[in-house]
Symmetry: C2
Subunit: 452 residues, 2 copies
């Protein structure tokens, strides 16, 4: 049976299965959802077995569980290791969702839900391509699945788990659907990922909240100080001021910059879709370069003092921020995490106390475009989308990808089907059914070319 016919015959069941997975609110950053991680793991075991995996099991880690399953047909044949993650991001601000995040709804041909794309929908593509190959006697290699529950919090335990199960995880390539395409009609393969360093900072002023009338003007306000300190972290050209921050940044050649800028990009459309009058970033680089080959510096959250309705005249004791940098190849996240901590502490004035905690991080990654796996994927996209895919350096991070290379010695191939409009990590995350089905076709085609 052709894959198109197989999809047609099975899609109702598939959506039911995917929706069951989505309904489990497996938010990894909120400890209260730990039981949901186990529910999601059990669901994965169930679906893997249903799809034809011979054995599938839940492995405990010091954090959330990992699901591992395999179908070994012949040790001598090549082996594909599929990686995905069952955890999702938090859903706040909840009031901006048009439907409930964990009650998937199909509107205008798209599934709306947290995880519809990232990564429940996308990893489901891998699962269903495998199911088709098994069901139709077309599988010509060994397949392993490794699905973790901590990707959205930086995979703190998967590296050690891989180390422990190195033998079991042996493979020729790791296949990952957790990235995006440039547009629905512009297929692309992600060949680079930025790394990440993430901190939480706490600035303490007085030992208690103070009345802003009685003390205002005489005591440093930790919010004002935090704002000053954050402001000092970037200069007029929007370069990060941390000494040594750019020391190891890979200087991309003119040739590569030219190639990079060949990917279609419409600045006016980009600004319009975000409703901003102007873009803003590091001087000397354009928008695509700023996210592809340059590091960033963003405050991801800030809080302190009175944030309720109306007016409260308080000088708070403490102010906090969550801050992160996306890193590019050669920037070591441990080094950057440390440089930030030292610098931020060093610029703290003596009228406050500053505490910097490194929350997590991950290394950047570059994928070679001359490998057999990349070539197979390129052919597969060309077959399904009618165009050769563009190699793209993504601004995002999947910290575990570089860990896989370090620990397992295996390169990853990032073939993702997300679109910019899918709003991952945001309210109204969605995934077009068209991308779900095209994704399955593409992965099926990948296996064909990879095992040819």
């Amino acid at each position: 049976m052709t894959i198109k016919n197989y999809i047609e015959e099975n899609k109702e069941r598939w959506l039911e299965e995917l929706f069951e997975m989505i309904r489990i609110p497996s938010i990894s950053s909120i400890p209260d959802h730990k039981p949901d991680m186990y529910k999601a793991a059990e669901k994965w075991v169930e679906l893997l077995k249903k799809a034809g995996i011979d054995k599938a099991e839940i492995y405990d880690t010091p954090g959330n569980p990992v699901v591992y399953g395999e179908k070994m047909i012949d040790q001598k044949l090549p082996t594909v290791l599929v990686y995905g993650h069952m955890d999702v991001m938090p859903v706040d601000p909840i009031d901006l969702w048009d439907s409930k995040p964990f009650e998937p709804e199909i509107r205008d041909g798209k599934i709306y839900a947290r995880g519809a794309d990232d990564d429940k929908g996308q990893s489901f593509i891998q699962l269903k391509a495998f199911e088709y190959l098994v069901a139709n006697g077309l599988l010509k290699c060994n397949v392993k699945f490794m699905v973790e529950g901590e990707e959205e919090v930086g995979s703190p335990n998967l590296g050690a788990w891989c180390e422990e199960h190195k033998e079991m995880l042996k493979a020729d390539v790791i296949l990952v659907s957790d990235t995006g395409m440039l547009a629905r009609d512009i297929p692309s393969i992600t060949t680079g990922l930025r790394g990440l360093a993430y901190w939480q900072v706490e600035v303490t002023g007085p030992n208690r909240d103070l009345h802003s009338g009685i003390y205002g003007g005489a005591i440093a306000n930790p919010i004002n100080v935090l704002c000053d300190m954050i402001s000092q972290m970037t200069d007029k050209n929007n370069k990060v001021t941390i000494p040594g921050f750019y020391d190891d940044v890979e200087e991309v050649s003119e040739k590569e910059r030219t190639l990079l800028n060949k990917a279609p990009f419409d600045l006016e459309e980009y600004k319009e879709s975000l409703d901003v009058k102007a873009v803003h970033g590091e001087e000397g680089f354009n928008t695509r370069e700023r996210t592809g080959i340059r590091p960033s510096f963003d405050v991801n959250g800030i809080w302190g003092g009175y944030t309720g309705e109306g007016a409260k005249t308080v000088i708070p004791s403490k102010a906090y921020a969550k801050i992160s940098s996306r890193l590019v190849p050669n920037q070591d996240y441990h080094k950057i995490a440390d440089l930030f901590k030292k610098h931020f502490e060093s610029i703290a004035p003596d009228y406050v106390k500053v505490n910097v905690e490194v929350l997590h991080g991950g290394q950047s990654y570059v994928c070679p475009i001359d490998s057999k796996a990349y070539e197979a994927a390129s052919k597969a996209f060309t077959e399904v989308y009618g165009k050769e895919p563009v190699p793209v350096r993504s601004g995002g991070s999947i910290p575990i990808i570089s860990t896989f290379e370090d620990v397992l010695g295996i390169k990853s191939l990032l073939i993702g089907f997300g679109l910019e409009s899918n709003a991952i990590h945001s309210p109204n995350e969605n995934f077009p059914l068209e991308q779900l089905y095209n994704g399955v076709e593409t992965v099926v085609s990948f296996y064909k070319h990879f095992t040819a």
Copy 2:
């Protein structure tokens, strides 16, 4: 009966009455507590009548109610108008309280509760001094009580209410217990209050929360921008940079500055009590001056992005701050509110949208020290505390005080019994019983001298 004996005989009943008042969570800044404002008003009517007021009524306003009561013994005698407020500040951060904020507890001779001092405890002093005078046939003037429910949100409706009831409110002096003393053994009378302008600002970047990997470095982050903008509002000398901000600031004479600095003040003790290594404020002024005669600029609250546990890599769509300035005599709060709004909007870069809302404000106030009322209060404090009180310019604001002067043409006398350690507006607000009883004695003595 002497006041000391009267206190001894009645204090158990008094505390019961005060605790009943405190248990009503009359937080004016949170609309959900509106029913509590009416409960508090009913309690005031009940207690006023019990204390000897002839008629007491609740008056509706577009906001929270006002309680008014009077005992007119002779139109020809002088009239004292007592002002107090029944509303309190919010209680967050709730986890820093050692006991529940609306369940008063006595520990080490202090009442611990929200409102124990500000202003339930202090206005209770006025009520009980009046009760004693009536009960013992010692009242020699007319007394009016006006108790409002919106002081902590800037008394937005009391001005208009006073205008409407001008005739009814006629008096020779307004008596207010809503301020503090320098220390338990250093009586003082507040002769100056700072004004206040309070804003909420909203900075909007992209039209939705974005993935910090895909967009980080290419799109302005509204939190970073808000921090930059706040940082620009003060300069290296910690002077406010708003053009025209200092234009109308009253330049205090060298003589007055000398007097001001005669009030006992121990900088080391001050820093120690707040656990800060250094104080911080406007260059060229010391701590007492910074709060007494100079305006301030504080961020009272800030929020935006992800503020939960762990790490979420988001570029938020919006960031917010609540900002206020304490103002000094001659600085008009309407003018300052407008100057800030214009300036803040003018420094907004084109890659964000900025919205500034003026939340509330109030004028500053100066009280003459050569009036009959001031002299009576000075004698009263000397009698009870054994020392002549120090005239003090407070850093706090009671915006309605200047409104009273404008609308009713009556000066206010601010005799407060709060201590710095009472932690008003903070967790573990408290009020020493000693101050409660000494306060009643002082007010009783004030009436004696005022009507002598």
